[in-house]
């Protein structure tokens, strides 16, 4: 083995490290460590001059191992691996000591921080001594993409990828794509009609030669890894033959059975055979077996009698479809918060208390009231109160701000003013008008005569204390600008309800091995610099499944995720994990303990030779088998017993 020559570079990171850690002392200390040839410090190691310093030392001093003591390896390990690779050293002959996130940023004690930095540097040096060059292998990327969720984010991502002539499987669990956006009437702040801008995109998806649309379907299982995933999808039985149906709608007209419309949130009824809304894509109905008389009582079959194409098929069963894809984009959206638990707001108790999404349907020209803003009794409201932050910014429910409520509340104010003579009261905590043109929209609404009252509402009651309040809903609270309690009698109350994670987000996260943040939304790889990737390579997130956001942000994220996928498709290959496990067959006793432990079934037993062998393409390098092998026959590359023991020794100096 050639002589080990280690170079160590301590980064100041401006003042981020140098302010707390005595970098000079650490640099000096490093020279006392075994095999260290050079030890330097510099203001920003990640900058070009910093990287060049390493390259020059490799050339001049013949370094064959490098340690950089700076930030988290999750930040700059790839940067420095590339640096030494460019100077002709195998990228795995490198180690980072995290003296920023784990050291200078968590304490103000200079002495303790400096001591800890020394220990971390000593561990990295001792460890890198044992590093061996590793070979980087590549595998091809399947150019097909799976997109889960057909709301605006899923639609946008699907079109971007399909337009570049790469196949997309778009899976949506409802009978039609469109998501929440298709339920909206207008969009803020431009007030353009939501359906008008969305339906052309939906139609494009439906007709696109590169998109295989699978509605009324759910992904049940995902296996594999970036470049080659396999997905098992359940296509639920529609009881309508998709190939025969032409969407004429006679079956729906003739069906005598009714149920609450999910699309209208129970504010109207639909038939037992139905499409959720008129512009559904695909325009193919489904039979709701819980309300269809044939499925309940084995009679009726009116739809079948009237369908001239013979498309009704009561014998249809769920189909399981398997697809192979290289990348996955998750765009599963959000659930609207159910305000029933906040009993003091009277939702479910009083007739004219609505959620934000319900009011969206009431405003909609094709909604339950044909777009007329009316009370339950059909009369026009004379006054409406909109209560902000229902379920958001509330420690009892969700601590986060749902971001869009202030703006949709402003939009409702405008629509109410436009269509009725009602007084509108906005009961807000803070007006958050964060986007382009949003503040201007707020100003416009102020000029339209909307009443803004700052203060969280305490209660909505029907207990009148004077004549003016008789028969009204009285909104009680405090006007915190005037510092006085208020009672505002109104006819209608709209609760600006929060956006929350899907009720089954945890199961979806598990299916895809991605993580959720504390609020339940899916966690991005990095909150600033990697907002659409996840910890799992090849799985991307976009839209409200990542956190509450408005349409422009959801669309931007979807395009970003599509771009990430296209980059991988265009490159055509991905690097396999190099830090995999390998079995020394001389030492293997053939006990097979590791075979069952491997979560990826990467280890198989070779009958002829009576030893186990690891398939490197399947191994993800977790090391579980290594820790379990009773003969110590398995080596975890980059995490060998020697390397970890040296590191333990190092941190304990």
């Amino acid at each position: 083995m050639e002589e080990v020559k280690i170079g160590i570079y301590v980064c100041h990171c401006g003042l981020n490290i140098a302010d707390i850690v005595d970098v000079e002392e650490v640099t000096k200390y490093a020279t006392t460590l075994p095999a260290v040839v050079v030890s330097r410090n510099y203001k920003f190691m990640c900058s070009d001059p910093g990287q060049n310093m390493i390259k020059e030392d490799i050339k001049e001093l013949g370094l064959n191992r490098v340690v950089v003591a700076s930030c988290s390896p999750l930040m700059h390990e790839p940067t420095f691996r590339r640096t030494i690779q460019e100077a002709g050293v195998n990228p795995y002959l490198f180690e980072m000591a995290n003296i920023r996130e784990h050291c200078s940023w968590i304490t103000e004690d200079h002495k303790a921080a400096t001591e800890k930095a020394k220990a971390l540097v000593s561990a990295a040096v001792r460890r890198v001594y044992y590093h061996q060059p590793l070979e980087i292998k590549e595998v091809p990327v399947n150019p097909n993409t799976l997109i889960i969720g057909g709301g605006i984010a899923g639609i946008q991502a699907a079109l971007e990828i399909a337009d570049s002539e790469h196949k997309v499987y778009l899976v949506e669990r409802d009978p039609s794509i469109g998501g929440h956006m298709i339920q909206f009437d207008k969009t803020f702040p431009t007030l353009d009609c939501s359906a008008c801008i969305l339906t052309p995109k939906m139609t494009s998806v439906g007709m696109h030669p590169y998109i295989e649309l699978m509605t009324y379907s759910e992904v049940e299982e995902i296996s594999g890894f970036v470049g080659s995933f396999k997905a098992r999808i359940r296509k639920k039985a529609r009881y309508v033959d998709e190939d025969k149906c032409n969407g004429c709608g006679v079956c729906v007209t003739k069906c005598p059975w009714k149920a609450n419309s999910e699309f209208d949130l129970g504010l109207s009824e639909r038939k037992a055979i139905y499409t959720p809304f008129a512009q559904a894509v695909p325009n193919i109905p489904v039979i709701d077996t819980e309300h269809c008389a044939y499925f309940l009582k084995e009679k009726c079959r009116a739809c079948e009698k009237f369908c001239e194409l013979g498309a009704i098929d009561f014998e249809q069963v769920d189909q399981i479809v398997e697809v192979e894809v290289g990348n996955i984009i998750v765009t599963t959206g959000y659930d609207s918060f159910d305000p029933t638990p906040i009993t003091q707001y009277g939702y479910g108790k009083f007739d004219n208390v609505y959620t934000g999404l319900e009011f969206e349907r009431i405003c909609n020209a094709v909604g339950p009231t044909s777009g007329k803003i009316v009370l339950k009794d059909g009369s026009e409201p004379k006054s409406v109160a909109i209560l902000h932050c229902v379920g958001s910014r509330d420690e009892n429910y969700h601590e986060y701000c749902s971001r869009v409520c202030c703006m949709y509340a402003l939009k409702y104010s405008h629509l109410i003013k436009e269509r009725t003579d009602a007084e509108v009261y906005q009961m807000y905590i803070d007006m958050r008008c964060f986007g382009k043109g949003y503040e201007e929209f707020y100003k416009r609404l102020s000029e339209e005569g909307v009443n803004f009252i700052r203060g969280k509402v305490a209660e909505v009651t029907d207990r009148a204390i004077n004549e003016d309040e008789q028969g009204k809903l009285i909104v009680c609270g405090e006007d915190t600008l005037l510092c006085k309690t208020i009672r505002v009698p109104v006819d209608m109350v709209i609760l600006a309800t929060a956006l929350e994670p899907r009720s089954d987000a945890a199961e979806v996260a598990k299916l895809l091995t991605i993580t959720q943040s504390a609020d339940g939304f899916f966690l991005e790889r990095h909150p600033k610099l990697d907002p659409v990737a996840t910890m799992t390579d090849g799985v991307f997130i976009a839209g409200c499944c990542q956190g509450p956001k408005d349409i422009p942000d959801a669309v931007a994220q979807a395009s970003a995720a599509a771009t990430r996928v296209l980059a991988l498709i265009s490159k055509g290959r991905v690097e396999l994990e190099a830090a995999t496990a390998v079995i020394d067959e001389e030492k293997c006793s053939g006990c097979r303990i590791c075979n069952l432990l491997c979560p990826y079934s990467a280890i198989s037993f070779i009958e002829d030779e009576k030893v186990s062998r690891i398939n490197e393409a399947l191994c993800k390098g977790c090391g579980t088998c290594v820790a379990a092998c009773p003969s110590a026959a398995i080596t975890h590359r980059q995490f060998t017993m020697e390397e970890i023991t040296a590191e333990i020794e190092g941190v304990l100096v």
């Binding site: 050291c103 940023w105 968590i106 304490t107 561990a123 990826y600 390098g621 977790c622 820790a627 995490f639």
Partner: protein
């Protein structure tokens, strides 16, 4: 000078290491006593590493992984649970107080949880005092 325990932390790359990074990024303050060794999965942590750490002068060992059910490698942390509960039974025989070894879970978004585990562990080990192999040998002859 008060006793400053040396604690070795084995943290998985996907959840806990990121949680620890987040604690730093958010400038949460915590005891600087835990020196972190990154492993890809808590399932890689061999009981031998923990014993080795005590041999080499550690006063405590902290193993952190993804929450059960959340493992990046599907189920590595379940293997850790089994291994660690066996090790916990063996520790007294080795003369190591069970409180000196702790297995816990920190997700990538739980910087605050990381801080509270580290502070709590540091205080517990501080109360136990330094781990000395010698006194151990005396005890067990």
């Amino acid at each position: 000078m008060s006793f400053e325990p040396k604690i070795v932390g084995f943290l998985c790359n996907w959840c806990s290491y990121r949680g620890a990074d987040l604690a730093g990024t958010a400038r949460m303050k915590c005891a600087p006593n835990v020196r972190i060794i990154r492993v890809m999965c808590s399932g890689r942590v061999e009981p031998a590493f923990i014993v080795k750490a005590f041999q080499l002068g550690a006063d405590g060992v902290l193993v952190l992984g993804c929450h059960p059910g959340d493992c990046h490698y599907a189920e590595g942390n379940y293997k850790t649970i089994r291994r660690m509960s066996l090790l916990q039974k063996m520790l007294p025989q080795l003369g190591i107080e069970t409180d000196r070894v702790r297995l816990d879970w920190v997700s990538a978004s739980e910087g605050d949880r990381f801080v509270s585990i580290v502070d709590d562990m540091t205080e517990k080990v501080r109360a136990l005092g330094p781990f000395t192999k010698n006194s151990d040998e005396e005890k067990h002859g």
